[in-house]
Each structure stands twice: as structure tokens, then as C-alpha cells.
């Protein structure tokens, strides 16, 4: 895992070479940020400082990077969190509904729905939402950071794509589980349908969903960039984007590193959750 974090370092370091080429006059700035040292030394300094959570200053904002990242973090978390809830909610419900009535119109409808969700770029959905809800119906604001009204559309746009994934996984996983032995046993025992499907079925069907959820969290954060741009939502994605555009590599390095580290931690959490959900794994 340390290897993973270490890998991120050199790549942004390459950027030091390219702006250095066309901003030759800014030598004093380069001096200030220690850019004139040979690359390997820069890398070592970076790692040292990173371990102390010091990411230097942002060239663009003039503020320490850690502060900026910290400021933006809640916004990103809110967005991703809300989107996650929505996508899981829709996904699970749709998946269960479809699985329960196989072959019915509900099943087909859900399948088309999820396919559509997977195929549309999220920022397009975002713009459609804006068109419908902000321009034509005038009930939701078009952007900016704020309460529920501001959060609704971005979260939905972001979550739509993932709800499709969850729907599919829940659907197939639930189907598999429902056909297995112990479910039949539960039915024979005379337990109510609710209990059978809800308690026994769902708990085991959730395992692949949890895996997917874990993997998706980070994809969500990075995929949020476009949505943040459309809604002017001040999150980490937009921060990184601006950083990249304005060659503010301290910011870029920090954000990428942060995200990679979060990914690793989230995967750990998912593994732990696994052990809880599936007793078989615990005894390994």
C-alpha cells in the first residue's frame, strides 16, 4: 500500500518539467518552491513533507494546500455521500423489485432503465436536470453550494450511473441467492416471505453490492469533476481540475495522493465489512 502511495509521487513531478520550459522568466518562483533541485531530490522532499501532511503552498491561491483540501473536503463528501445514498437506495430497491417478479414488465423496465443510466454521461444528465427543473419548472437552483435544494440535482446526476450498477448486481446476486438451498429450507420451514427474502436473502446478496460500493466510492469522487463543474459545486474534483489547468502542481499532487490513500483505506473497510456479512470468511 505504501508502494501505491509512493507511485503517485513521480508522476506529478513530471509536470515540473513542462511548465518550467515555457515559463522561463519565473525563475524566482521556481526557486521559492524548490523546483530547481534535480528531480529525485524533489521527490524525496515531497515524500518527507507528505508524511507530515505538509503539501506546500498552492501557487494559485497562495494558501497552504492542506488548508484548501480540508476546506473542500466536506463539500465533496456531502456530494458523494448523498449520491451514494441515492444510488444505493434506487439500486437496491430496483434490484429487489426486479428479482422478485422475474420476467414481468417490471423486470424488463428495470433492465432498460439501468442500461440507460449506464450509457449517459453524468454531466449530460446533470444538464438535462438543470433544463427541466431549473429552467422549465423553476423549482431548483442551478448551482452553488448550499442546502438540500442545491444538493439534489448534483447528487442525482452523480448517483444515477451507479444506481444502474447496483441494480444489476443486486438483481443477479439476489436471484442466485434465492435459488440456493437454505432459502428453500427457510420457505419449507414456513417462514413468511418477508422474512425469507428480507433477512436471509438480502444479507447474503449484499456481499457483491458492498464490493461494488467500495470500488465505486473513488470512481465517484473522480467522476464528480464534470458534475462539480456544471453545478459550480466546490469539491475536490474541481480543485484538482483547476490545479491541473493552472499548473498548480502542489494542489494536484495533494489531491491525487489524498484520493489514492482514501481508496486504499476504503478497500480496507470494505474487507472488514465483508467479514461481518459473510461468516464463512471470518473463519479463515
Amino acid at each position: 500500500m505504501i508502494f501505491l502511495a509512493a507511485r503517485i509521487g513521480p508522476d506529478p513531478a513530471f509536470m515540473i518539467a513542462s511548465p518550467g520550459a515555457d515559463e522561463g522568466e519565473l525563475n524566482s518562483i521556481r526557486d521559492r518552491f524548490g523546483l530547481n533541485e534535480p528531480l529525485p531530490i524533489q521527490y524525496v522532499i515531497f515524500v518527507k513533507k507528505a508524511l507530515q501532511a505538509d503539501f506546500g503552498e498552492s501557487i494559485y491561491y497562495g494558501l497552504p494546500v492542506s488548508e484548501i483540501v480540508w476546506q473542500r473536503l466536506p463539500a465533496s463528501l456531502k456530494l458523494v455521500g448523498a449520491a451514494k445514498l441515492i444510488s444505493l437506495g434506487i439500486g437496491l430497491v430496483a434490484g429487489v423489485l426486479a428479482a422478485r417478479r422475474r420476467g414481468g414488465w417490471m423486470d424488463n423496465a428495470v433492465r432498460w432503465f439501468s442500461l440507460a443510466g449506464l450509457s449517459m454521461p453524468n454531466f449530460w444528465i446533470a444538464m438535462l436536470f438543470i433544463l427541466i427543473f431549473s429552467v422549465k419548472l423553476k423549482i431548483l437552483p442551478t448551482g452553488g453550494y448550499g442546502g438540500i435544494a442545491h444538493l439534489l440535482m448534483p447528487a442525482f446526476s452523480l448517483g444515477w450511473y451507479f444506481s444502474a450498477g447496483y441494480t444489476r448486481i443486486t438483481y443477479s446476486s439476489l436471484l442466485q441467492v434465492l435459488n440456493s438451498e437454505y432459502i428453500k429450507l427457510a420457505r419449507v420451514k414456513g417462514l413468511s416471505e418477508m422474512s425469507v427474502v428480507g433477512k436471509h436473502g438480502l444479507k447474503n446478496a449484499l456481499i457483491p453490492v458492498v464490493t461494488l460500493a467500495g470500488m465505486n466510492i473513488v470512481i465517484m469522487i473522480s467522476g464528480a469533476v464534470a458534475i462539480e463543474m456544471v453545478f459550480a459545486w466546490p469539491g475536490l474534483g474541481l480543485l484538482m481540475y483547476h490545479g491541473a489547468i493552472y499548473r498548480d502542481f502542489n494542489v494536484v499532487q495533494a489531491v491525487i495522493l489524498f484520493i489514492s490513500v482514501s481508496m486504499v483505506m476504503v478497500n480496507l473497510l470494505v474487507d472488514i465489512l465483508y467479514a461481518y456479512l459473510d461468516p464463512r470468511i471470518r473463519y479463515q
Binding site: M127, T142, V218, A226, I256
Partner: protein
């Protein structure tokens, strides 16, 4: 005729069993990409400013000569859509092929030779995977600059790892099978074994993965272009149409973004449907049933 018949029969069989609707949609889009010069009525890059911001022909100010309306610079939306298909398809196909080649090579080598080669390649792949894709794309695009060729390389660089993992797994399991052992005993050189025995069997998985990935790549390319780090203007690209149309949203110029979005969605959906079907079709269990 002798050499062609079996291949022709295979192709016909393929078409017979494939889902027709996505195939037709795909065909239309590919055709428009290839024959864009003949199909489009107007020049996609130069517009007539006197005709700017016309709505689609079924609305009031619309004009049948500009069926889907015009954009802020007076360019015909339909023509831009048709030409845009070219860019999207080109980038997606090239990027996927590039990623597939790179990934498959890495995966097969890792799986086949095992040992430290395997470890080294896998470590490398894993660390590459942990980088968030869109952000990495943005980063790379800013470094190497915009441009069609650059995007293809960038997209390929982002997605090659998927293929590496899959092919490595396949190779590992194939390696243990009898026919590989027999070939080794018969004295086949290592590369020959790879070429004749392992690659063909790995290809099925690769093709399935590739067809599903094309959709993803198309959307990511659109996103990158939308953000300004993909295909540069004034080339017609669907992502660009979306970013340009964004400004017109509040004023109600809805056709600027609906058309390219629908185009993207249709293209991706078709690829996804075909990819799904391909997965079933190429599954050995399924193949046995049809015989």
C-alpha cells in the same frame, strides 16, 4: 470459394444471432462517421452567423434546412453530430485497441512466465489501477496537451490495466491445461506456444472486455472534451457540443445539448448491448448449446 465459405458462414451466423436493433444503430452511426462528407448538408466547422441559434425544424423559428437547429456560431447541429461521430468512434476504437494490445501483452507475459516477471508486472499494474481514472486523464491531458492523438494515448494508458489483469488470470489457468503441457513436451518454443495456444483462447475474454469498455471510453472521452482537455475546438466532437451548449441552457436553447447527449447515449447503449450479447455468445457453455 473454398477458403471463404467457412468464414462467411461464421459471419452470417453471427449476424443472425446478434441483437438486431443495437447492430442497426451502430451501423448507422459508423456509416455516418465514414460517409460524413456525403451525409452532412453543411460544413461542421464554419457556420453562418446569420442563422445562429435556430431551433429544430419542428419549432416555430426552425428551418427544415437545419433539421436539428444551429448553434451559437450558426453551425448546423445535425452536421456536427454526423462529423462528431467520426471523432468519437475513432478515438474510442483506437484507444481500446491500444489498451487491449498493451494490456494483453503485459497480462500474457506476466501469466506465462510467472515468477518475478509476474510479480513485477502485477505490482506495476496494481499501483497504476489505484489512480482515479478521470483525474489521471485530466492530468495527462494537461501535461501532453490537447489533440486527438494525445487523447487516444491517454485513454489507452488509463485503461490498459483491466486487460492485463484479465489476460493474466486466463493465462494462468490455461497454463495448467493439458494441451499446453503437450505442446511443451513436443518441444514447441515458448513464443510459439503463446501465439498458437494461449492467445486464441485469451482473445474471447479480451473481445468481450473491449466491447464493454468502448462505451466507457466514449463517455470518458466526452467528459474530457467537455472539460476542455480532450479534442480541441473547432473540430466537431460531441463533448465540445455539450460544453458549448452549456452556456445556452439558462436561455432555453435546449437543442444544443439534447442532440449530442442522445447521440452519445445511443452509441454507448448499442455498444453495451452488443457487448453483453457478445459475452453470452462467446461463452463456451453457450456455444455448446447451439451445436
Amino acid at each position: 470459394m473454398n477458403k471463404f465459405s467457412p468464414i462467411l458462414a461464421k459471419i452470417l451466423e453471427f449476424i443472425r444471432r446478434a441483437p438486431k436493433v443495437p447492430l442497426i444503430i451502430l451501423l448507422i452511426l459508423v456509416a455516418s462517421a465514414i460517409f460524413a462528407d456525403f451525409l452532412a448538408w453543411h460544413d461542421p466547422e464554419i457556420g453562418d452567423p446569420r442563422q445562429r441559434l435556430l431551433p429544430p425544424f419542428w419549432e416555430e423559428r426552425g428551418n427544415i434546412r437545419y433539421p436539428l437547429g444551429t448553434d451559437t456560431m450558426g453551425r448546423d447541429v445535425l452536421s456536427r453530430l454526423i462529423y462528431g461521430a467520426r471523432v468519437s468512434l475513432l478515438v474510442a476504437l483506437a484507444a481500446v485497441i491500444f489498451a487491449a494490445c498493451l494490456g494483453t501483452a503485459a497480462g500474457v507475459i506476466a501469466g506465462f512466465f510467472g515468477g518475478w516477471v509476474d510479480q513485477a508486472i502485477m505490482r506495476f499494474t496494481d499501483s497504476w489501477l489505484s489512480i482515479p481514472t478521470v483525474m489521471f486523464g485530466i492530468l495527462m491531458a494537461v501535461i501532453v496537451g490537447p489533440g486527438v492523438f494525445n487523447i487516444i494515448i491517454i485513454l489507452g494508458a488509463v485503461y490498459w490495466t483491466r486487460y492485463a489483469r484479465v489476460t493474466r488470470g486466463e493465462t494462468l489457468s490455461l497454463k495448467t491445461r493439458d494441451f499446453v503441457h503437450l505442446a511443451t513436451i513436443a518441444g514447441c518454443g515458448k513464443f510459439r506456444i503463446i501465439r498458437k495456444h494461449i492467445l486464441p483462447n485469451v482473445m474471447n475474454n479480451v473481445i468481450t472486455l473491449a466491447s464493454l469498455q468502448i462505451g466507457v471510453v466514449i463517455v470518458v472521452e466526452a467528459s474530457l472534451t467537455f472539460l476542455g482537455v480532450g479534442v480541441p475546438p473547432p473540430k466537431p466532437a460531441w463533448g465540445l457540443m455539450l460544453s458549448e451548449g452549456r452556456g445556452g441552457l439558462l436561455a432555453g436553447y435546449w437543442w444544443l445539448i439534447v442532440s449530442p447527449g442522445v447521440a452519445i447515449a445511443l452509441l454507448v447503449m448499442s455498444f453495451n448491448l452488443i457487448g453483453d450479447w457478445l459475452r453470452l455468445y462467446l461463452d463456451p457453455h453457450y456455444r455448446n448449446i447451439k451445436a
